[in-house]
Amino acid sequence: MKSLVALYTANAREFTRDRMASLFTILIPVLFAAFFGAIFGGDSGYKLNLGIVLEDSGLVGQQILASLTSPEAGKMLSIKVGGRDEQLAALGKGDLQAVLVLPSSLSQSVDQKKQTGVDVYYDEARQSSSGIGLGVVRDLLAQTNLAVQGIQPLLVAREEAIQTHPLRPVDFFVPSVLAMSMLWLGLFGTSLPLVQQREQQVLRRLSASPVSRVTLLGGQVCWRLTVGMIQASVFLVIGVFVLGVQIEGNWPLFAAGSVLGALVFISMGYLLAGLSDTMEGAAALAQLVNFPLMFLSGIFFEPSMLPSFLRPVTNVMPLTYLADLFRQTMVGYSALHPLWLDFAVLAGCLVIFVGLGLRFFRWER
């Protein structure tokens, strides 16, 4: 027991004095979560910049403008009124996504029930934003058509989000990146240090001492499990107090998931260390594992955004299940898989990694 505590402390000191290990397991993941949350999120949300050229002095032009600047439309649109040349220049620079010209003949034509053209300018090179702009303008014109003809719309879409509380991108990224940080605990916090200690013959010297190998492994694993718990707590605290993540979690399941997730990736680290002969090999292997897991596990985007032939791949990535587990138990994000399946897959991975890890682990070169 005394040896176990001493080995735990030794591993902790070695780990915390190694800047790379602390950097990769805690600091960089936190920055990742904050960074992606900021890029894709924030409170303002996405707004379409629409330019209006109001040449019509009549009632219809005023009505359209009023409906565009209503608080309801203001959530989506940012309206700028100005002269035609000025607006087209702004469109060319990319400051506006579309320009709508309300011609001087507009009110008159409407009064006379004559069809009239409304010019819409957009930048063809900016497909997605101008596509949204065109859609908004068409929708607007359709509504105006009905209104000026005095027709009551019979079918009205009642929009209701199925989330019980609104989720922002940062609510998605914080639990996802926590899962990634546990992957990194396995790769950069377990596999690489172990291979290094094997190369430097630290493991050999320890195993030559009378302390049992179970105790040696116990000290290493217990410390790394602690790192996993630190990761979970740090993400929780920073998520809530710095990034303002809405926590609506299931604490016992989140805690159990953290322990299980950390153990899965720590044991994967042992397996990878056993499969690598040299430090260089271990680093290459870590990257080989890191990239597919990072990008095909729904950490940075949901799997539904991947091309269809890649989607089955996400289902064999253990990280997919851990990220899903954290999203569900930490912020109540919609489930990719049922929670029991997440736990079952991770437990299965743990059994496989521990089995293979013991088979391939080596104390010396």
Binding site: L7, R205, A208
Partner: protein, 307 residues
């Protein structure tokens, strides 16, 4: 009265592919003895000592350490012996003090850490991380780690290889201390002067076999009643003629140097000078010395130990 041997090795065998690293090695080490295993690199010293320590599995033979069978009692043996490996891997970011305290928890009755630090003279370095130690300090730390469990038997595998002469002497002092305390030490080395200085008995190993074993002085006396005259023979000294000179017992060539073993140094020297002036050959860099373990080794194996 013969005490029970601390270490008993019988017919040790170990092969790596085609190579016989250990080819029937047998010896006994008595309590309180400093036993040295001498041999060139690749002779099998490390393989031998690591089989005895239980770090490697021998292919055949029997090893008894402190009355316990190596293999079956590996774990019990480990807690009663101390060992210094040829390259000691230490947590690089832990300090001297932290490493000693860590290893102290591995043994049932460890020595006080402060006492060990004193013993290997690392008091000023106790707060230094192991990666920042010099080669000599590192070696002394690894010796302290070997001694932390207060072992009855200590194994040192090339404890002074790669150290400067001063650091080597500091380490010899520590080993001398151990001997003074009645500990048994088995060490390997390829430094002749180290073996002569430290060891009560040495075994000379070559190609996985022990070719001689005795006290250093007895080995020298057995193989040489003569002194050695050494000089630079690159000018073209004819070996056959030199070996026929008066008093010469044997001639050995070591690279560009010729070693002439003589029972009568004045007569041999006179004859050498005469031969030289007749042939127009110079006697460059000539030295005369008494025979050493190095000469025994050269005689037995036909090569210098550090080739």
């Amino acid at each position: 009265m013969p005490e029970e041997a601390v270490l008993e090795v019988r017919d040790l065998l170990k092969t790596y592919g085609e190579t016989r690293a250990l080819d029937g090695v047998s010896f006994l080490v008595q309590p309180g003895e400093v036993f040295g295993m001498l041999g060139p690199n690749g002779a099998g010293k490390t393989t031998c000592i690591e089989c005895i320590e239980g770090l490697r599995e021998a292919d055949g033979g029997a090893i008894t350490v402190l009355g316990m069978k190596q293999g079956a009692d590996r774990q019990r043996i480990k807690s009663r012996v101390g060992l210094q490996l040829q390259t000691t891997g230490l947590f690089p970011k832990l300090t001297v003090l932290e490493l000693l305290r860590l290893f102290a928890t591995f043994y049932p009755r460890p020595l006080p850490v402060s006492h060990l630090i004193e013993m290997v003279d690392l008091k000023e370095k106790k707060g230094t991380r192991s990666k920042d130690l010099s080669g000599g300090q590192r070696q002394r730390l690894s010796l302290a780690l070997a001694l932390v469990g207060d072992p009855e038997l200590v194994f040192l595998d090339e404890p002074t290889t790669g150290l400067d002469p001063q650091a080597r002497r500091a380490l010899w002092d520590v080993v001398g201390n151990l001997k003074g305390k009645g500990k048994t030490v088995m060490l390997t080395t390829h430094y002749m002067e180290e073996a002569e200085q430290l060891c009560d008995r040495v075994a000379i190993m070559d190609h996985g076999k022990l070719i001689e074993m005795d006290r250093p002085s007895a080995l020298i006396a057995r193989h040489f009643e003569e002194a050695a005259i050494e000089f630079n023979a690159s000018a073209g000294w004819p070996t056959e003629l030199v070996s026929g000179l008066p008093g010469v017992k044997n001639v050995a060539s070591q690279g560009s140097r010729l070693v002439v073993y003589s029972r009568d140094v004045p007569r041999t020297m006179a004859a050498l000078f005469e031969l030289g002036s007749n042939r127009g050959l110079d006697l460059e860099e000539i030295t005369v010395r008494s025979a050493s373990l190095e000469d025994v080794f050269l005689k037995l194996t036909g090569r210098r130990i550090r080739e």
